[in-house]
Amino acid sequence: MKNLTRRDAIRVGVLGTLGLIGIKGVSSAKSFWQIDPAKCVKCGKCETDCVKQVSAVKCVHQYESCGYCDFCSGFYHEGRTALDTSAENLLCPRDALKRKYIEEPYFEYQVDEDLCTACGKCVKGCADFGNGSLFLQVSREDCLNCNECTIAKVCPSDAFVRVDENTPYIYKKAVF
């Protein structure tokens, strides 16, 4: 019987230790990887370093900040021959950035998330010359929320941060 009580005492100790970690665990909200657009330097590693074959990172367009220009530096690349929508003039390699005529002289630019692979070319183009209304975000739908994000490991600017799972996106602030 004496042996049993000693064992029970150690058991209570182990359970108590686990309980303390558990109490700390209850209070923590599950977190999710997200890109902080203010830190992102558009290096293009999001496209190549995700564990998924098509990266879980997608380009997002904040319409409120967009100038709706006819000439869009996120839409046309620098070596363009003409300002039309033929493929050799477009910056996006996968035709994921769609352009729609609204009214003279405004055009709406929309990202097709199924085609986007987060190469960041349009984001860089938009930020360098335009209003910076395009930015990269990790899609909650596609991201596996790995223990150790393989993009975060190589991200040069530590732009990958943990956010609350219930508010998984960091939107840019509207410029107007």
Binding site: Y63, Q110, K172
Partner: protein, 398 residues
């Protein structure tokens, strides 16, 4: 290169056609299956407990192993598993920002809770990694005893490494260098796939090589299972001391009764070990300190530091130079990481030294029984000894 904020280079368009901004909200769909995984783990652990203690059936244990490999392994891709969560839990203890929630905690803690009451039912068939090795094991090649004992020290070092990296929120080594998980996911990089293939071949000839020689979580489970009040009884009727079970156990978990209950030599050995405890602790902490310094060399930030010193011009160094003017910042960060890792490693190895001393004391203690029994900490609840016992086979025939 500067991170560029949204700025109003072009004016806000003035629409006249009544155009309204489209909704930019991103898709938010995520069905977490973690709760389901937790239930599968608990179900399998209870099932294994019944199969091994009540029904005494090897076939049901193999079924549990098969279910674990199929459901947790191949269907859920073995994530999250307690072996990986071992490091996550320690990271969470030291860093509240880490990704952790109550379900992760339960998946990590419940196997230990089961272990202190009913033994290692988790290892017996609920763990997809253990179950995978159990199903592969076919023909035993005897390991030399000394080599076996030395290799069994490796998990202590791996556990120490996991905790040391967890304290500084470093790389997840428990997950990244797991040889079995890439088989479930079919996504290993080339070096790891070679390791995995070698490992599969090892599994055929050595019983549970990962569990015995590498698993960091086993350090906790092994110690916890010595508190268990239940253990595998080799025979259901009463031991006749025939010794036939010895050969059936591939994990060396069966204790051979040596007939000497309490001889003088053993008592003096226990005394010596207790007197030497401070030496154990000191040696352990010194080894731990050296090991921590060794581990520090693998911290990923050191690569950036080397690049900065050598003047390499790439994205990483450019971003560093944008935010800092000298190497002082990274040197300060690295110094903190260095002392944290070596201190953690020293403390962990000190505890390990005490655990080893406890092992030695337990082995030297007098035994009250003259029967062949299993060692609770080394037994993986595989049920092989049941069919090797002539008493049990005889009683089942009747």
């Amino acid at each position: 290169m500067l991170p560029i904020f949204a700025q109003a280079r072009f004016p806000k368009p003035e629409f006249t056609s009544g155009y309204e901004y489209p909704d930019m909200d991103l898709a938010y769909f995520y069905a977490s299956q973690d709760g389901l995984k937790l239930l599968v783990y608990i179900g399998l652990m209870i099932f294994v407990g019944f199969a091994i203690y009540k029904l005494r059936s090897k076939k049901l244990l193999l079924l549990a192993s098969f279910l674990s490999v199929a459901i947790i392994g191949f269907y859920f891709k073995a994530c999250p598993c307690p072996v990986g969560l071992f490091q996550n839990t320690f990271e969470f203890i030291f860093n509240s920002e880490a990704n952790y929630n109550i379900i992760y905690f339960l998946i990590f803690a419940l196997p230990i809770v089961f272990a202190i009451f009913v033994g290692r039912v988790f290892c017996g068939g609920a763990c997809p990694l253990g179950a995978f090795q159990e199903l592969l094991f076919f023909k035993e090649l005897k390991m030399p005893k000394l080599l076996d004992k030395i290799l069994r020290l490796i998990p202590y070092f791996i556990a120490t490494a996991c905790i040391s990296f967890a304290v500084v929120s470093g790389p997840m080594i428990a997950c990244a260098y797991d040889p079995i998980v890439p088989i479930f996911r079919m996504n290993a990089f080339w070096a790891m796939s070679i390791v995995s293939i070698v490992f599969i071949i090892l599994c055929i000839f050595i019983s549970r090589p990962y569990c015995k020689y590498f698993c960091p979580y086993s350090v906790l489970l092994k110690s916890a299972s010595y508190l268990s009040s239940k253990k595998v009884e080799i025979t259901n009727k009463g031991c006749v001391s025939c010794g036939l079970c010895i050969g059936s156990c591939p994990n060396g978990a069966i204790i051979i009764p040596d007939g000497s209950f309490a001889n003088e030599k053993k008592v003096s050995r226990i005394k010596n070990i207790i007197l030497l405890l401070p030496v154990f602790l000191l040696v352990g902490m010194l080894i731990g300190y050296a090991f921590g310094l060794f581990l520090y060399n693998f911290h990923p930030l050191l690569a950036l530091y080397a690049d900065l010193q050598n003047g390499v011009d790439d994205f990483n160094t450019q971003v560093y130079w944008q935010n800092n003017t000298s190497l002082q910042y990274i040197e300060e960060v690295l110094a903190v990481i260095k002392w944290k890792m070596s201190l953690t490693s020293a403390i962990c190895m000190g505890i390990v030294a005490l655990l080893i001393a406890w092992d030695l004391i337990r082995n030297a203690k007098k035994r009250h029984s003259n029967d062949y029994e299993v060692d609770k900490g080394l037994c993986y609840l595989c049920g092989r000894c049941y069919s090797s016992c002539p008493v049990e086979v005889d009683s089942k025939k009747k």
